[in-house]
Symmetry: C2
Subunit: 121 residues, 2 copies
DNA sequence: TTACTCACTTGCAAAATAAAAGTTACTAAC
DNA sequence: GTTAGTAACTTTTATTTTGCAAGTGAGTAA
């Protein structure tokens, strides 16, 4: 047990509120972009690094570790010699789809400059 | 016009992707907690400051300014002498409800330590 | 032997966040 | 009219996180 501030669960950093706990994991500018890319078929470090927002490689490495720790993605060796790894969404990650969809709908509704992503289905 | 990196809209900081643009506004640990509190009837600086995650007052002030700038909330003087202000969700803010709901559902599904928020309807 | 690629890691400056204390406008109590 | 108190912020300073550039290690290909 790490903290005991009148018992906040070990999996919840600030409170037991579902919104707060979700933000403890995904609340930053990059993590959901990595998840988005994986929904769109990007799986390797390089592919993720090349997407248009140009995530710094140290941040990408850090976020991939966090996402693995949270079991939102997993990493598998898909090729020995040379070793190559593929990141994939777990069921927990795939279940973020409704979050992605609603947030995309909101963005499209209020920011006409954003493009259509109807590929996410 | 601020930037012109082969034309990224002035409202989109990193790209025109709806996910990225949403994260440019709401992608941090606190902003959506403020929105959550307003969905639950908190309207004054003090009420927002007192919620259980204990947001630092400078961060709260900053986020309230950003949310106003983005027209997700507005600020009204509800009492002269002494001056008191109330923050309220605009329609744009209210339209974040599906995002909140899906994210709460995801959190509840995968983190059993999070509590029920069925009040958000 | 040299050049190149992928998947990271390291170092350092810049920016954002956190905690505490301070400010302004006003009311209420003594 | 002086002291105490409150709401809504702001300021200061220290700590943490981020961003950029460069570097590393395992392996391939020429």
């Amino acid at each position: 047990m790490k903290q005991n501030k009148t018992s906040i669960s070990s999996k919840c950093k600030r409170s037991r509120c579902p919104v707060a706990c979700m933000l403890d994991i995904l609340g930053d500018k990059w993590t959901l972009l990595v998840v988005r890319d994986m929904f769109f078929g990007k799986h390797t470090f390089k592919e993720l690094q090349q997407s248009m927002e140009k995530i710094p490689s140290n941040i990408l490495a850090d976020r991939l570790k966090r996402l693995q720790k949270e079991k939102i993605i997993d990493r598998t060796l898909y090729q020995e010699r040379p070793r190559r790894y593929a990141y994939n969404l777990t069921q927990k990650g795939l279940d973020l789809k409704p979050v992605m969809q609603s947030l995309i709908a909101w963005s499209n509704k209020y920011n006409p400059d954003t493009y259509d992503m109807s590929k996410v289905k």
